[in-house]
């Protein structure tokens, strides 16, 4: 009984890292641009398929191809931003959220259906030589690929943290989040900051998607689930805190894993509503960002 619970806890933490990674991308884009990109899950899906095909066609290890997948998503993010999102920069905050949600829904349907046409509706997964390997600790089994997935998530978030804290561009990004007008008169071109946040967010989604393809499975319709999870985690964690968002991802992962069965989605939504009512700035958010 206790061992079963420990096992669920471990599985929850392992998947929670991916929730965190998916949510940090969404949260970064939302925090900087106030664009709520509800096609974020589809970006994960694209990342997943990219890793899958690179592995299937050229036998490149999915952990090795991660930088390529990230770069591909930077390109896709760039094109989507220029085509669809750039024109919404001058809207008021409310209208930005509304309009980007509508555009995002349309985009997610297009991407989903394209994926179904090109890749069929089958579930896919990447099975490497080491996919079955696991470590057993006190009777709790830890799959090696999922552990590696958690480690990659942590490395990505640490890199993002250092970028935001230590580089000039990162500081400009944080300044833009706080006060875009004051940032503008510092000489910061906020259009470029928005684009940068968008492509970084897309790249993080791509990496998360590739990890999903290795650790679990992908399908053309996976996007909506991931968008919703990322949204829940973003709200749980609160804006402006990378570590907060990551921990919120773990919290959601563990909650879903421990509750299990048909109750899991309900538990996630109850958690979501509780936070919205009791602590709208999120578990770890601050008012000043």
């Amino acid at each position: 009984m206790l061992q079963e619970l420990a096992q669920k806890l471990v599985f929850g933490i392992l998947v929670g890292g991916l929730y965190g990674l998916a949510a940090v991308g969404l949260s970064l884009i939302f925090g900087v641009t106030k664009f709520l990109n509800v096609a974020h899950g589809e970006l994960l899906m694209i990342g997943g398929y990219a890793a899958f095909w690179i592995f299937t066609l050229w036998a490149v290890d999915p952990f090795v191809s991660l930088p390529v997948v990230a770069l591909l998503l930077v390109l896709i993010g760039f094109v989507l931003y220029k085509l669809l999102f750039a024109r919404m920069v001058t809207l008021t905050e409310d209208n930005k959220i509304k309009n980007t949600m509508l555009v995002g829904f349309g985009l997610s349907l297009i991407l989903q259906n394209m994926a179904r046409v090109f890749f069929t509706a089958d579930d896919r997964g990447i099975t490497t030589a080491y996919s079955g390997a696991s470590i057993t600790l006190f009777g709790v089994s830890i799959p090696v690929v999922r552990l590696a997935g958690l480690a990659v998530s942590l490395i990505c978030l640490l890199a993002l943290h250092l970028f935001l804290r230590k580089t000039y561009t990162g500081k400009a990004l944080r300044a833009t989040v706080q006060d875009w007008e004051a940032a503008t008169i510092m000489g910061i071109d906020i259009q470029r900051v928005y684009l940068l946040a968008f492509v970084i967010g897309a790249a993080l989604a791509g990496v998360a998607g590739a990890l999903v393809a290795v650790c679990y499975s992908i399908s053309p319709t996976m996007g909506l689930d991931w968008t919703l999870r990322a949204l829940v985690v973003m709200v749980l964690g609160g804006l402006g805190s990378i570590m907060g968002t990551f921990i919120a991802g773990l919290v959601l992962g563990v909650t879903l894993s421990v509750v299990g069965g048909t109750w899991r989605e309900i538990a996630a939504l109850i958690l979501f509503l509780l936070v919205l009512v009791l602590r709208p700035q999120g578990l770890f958010g601050t008012k000043e960002g």
Binding site: K171, A172, Q178, A182, T184, I185, M186, G187, I188, G289
Partner: protein, 233 residues
């Protein structure tokens, strides 16, 4: 150095500035005074490029600024302190100052500019590692001005730098502005504290209902009857 010629600005259908013209010569400290809603802030926002006028020209050393986006105008030598300072409260004092030197040229001279700003505002040096949100009102205003100086501007635009400060601090901030001007930075100052502003400046413009209604030396305006009765009573 700066010339504004016949600027018209509308907020929707409502005129905010009508035919506003003014000049600031190199090395001057010029004040723009007038009642609330007269168009003082709007004028500054047009100069820094945050607002584009529907007609008229803004010239910096003879160069028209109409086509330049706001983030480029900083690099041309105009730096603005927005109303209320608008420092980045979640960033440290040092990070705020670093962002003031964001442009490529300013970034190269960052360390030198930092020493200069710390020499004017020693308090900022003591507090450099602190989050800007923890500063007092006076310190926030110092940081806002210091941040604007980090781009080594030729022209500094100040929007009500003394607003909301205790009288003693007002005097202190205005003294610092005089000192900055004495060190070679041209200043255009918007102040609601009319008497203090007029005592401080070489020259001032009076703006009402979006129009310039008076111009003269600070002393002359101080003795001007309508100004005495409107602002100094």
């Amino acid at each position: 150095m700066l010339a504004i010629e016949g600027i018209d600005v509308y907020y929707g259908d409502i005129p905010a500035l009508r035919e506003v013209s003014l000049k600031v010569e190199e090395g001057e400290l010029v004040a723009l005074v007038g009642p609330n809603g007269a168009g003082k802030t709007t004028t500054l926002r047009v100069i820094s490029g945050l607002l584009k006028p529907i007609s008229g020209r803004v010239l910096l050393e003879g160069r028209p600024l109409a086509k330049e986006p706001a983030h480029k105008i900083v690099e041309l030598g105009i730096s603005q302190v927005l109303e209320g300072g608008r420092i980045f409260t979640g960033l440290t004092v040092l990070e705020n100052l670093e962002l003031g030197a964001f442009g490529a040229k300013a970034r190269k001279a960052k360390n030198e500019s930092l020493r200069w700003v710390f020499s004017i505002f020693p308090r900022l040096e003591e507090r450099q590692a602190q989050r800007a949100g923890t500063l007092s009102g006076g310190e926030r205003q110092m940081l806002a001005i210091g941040r604007a100086l980090m781009s080594k501007p030729k022209l500094l635009l100040l929007d009500e730098p003394s607003f909301g400060l205790a009288p003693l601090l007002v005097v202190q901030i205005l003294q610092m502005i005089t000192e900055i001007n004495r060190q070679g930075v041209t200043v255009l100052l918007v102040e609601q504290n009319v008497r203090a502003a007029l005592e401080l400046t070489n020259r001032a413009y009076v703006i009402e209902n979006g129009r310039i209604v008076g111009e003269g030396s600070g002393e002359a305006l101080l003795s001007f009857e309508s100004i005495r009765s409107a602002y100094l009573a």
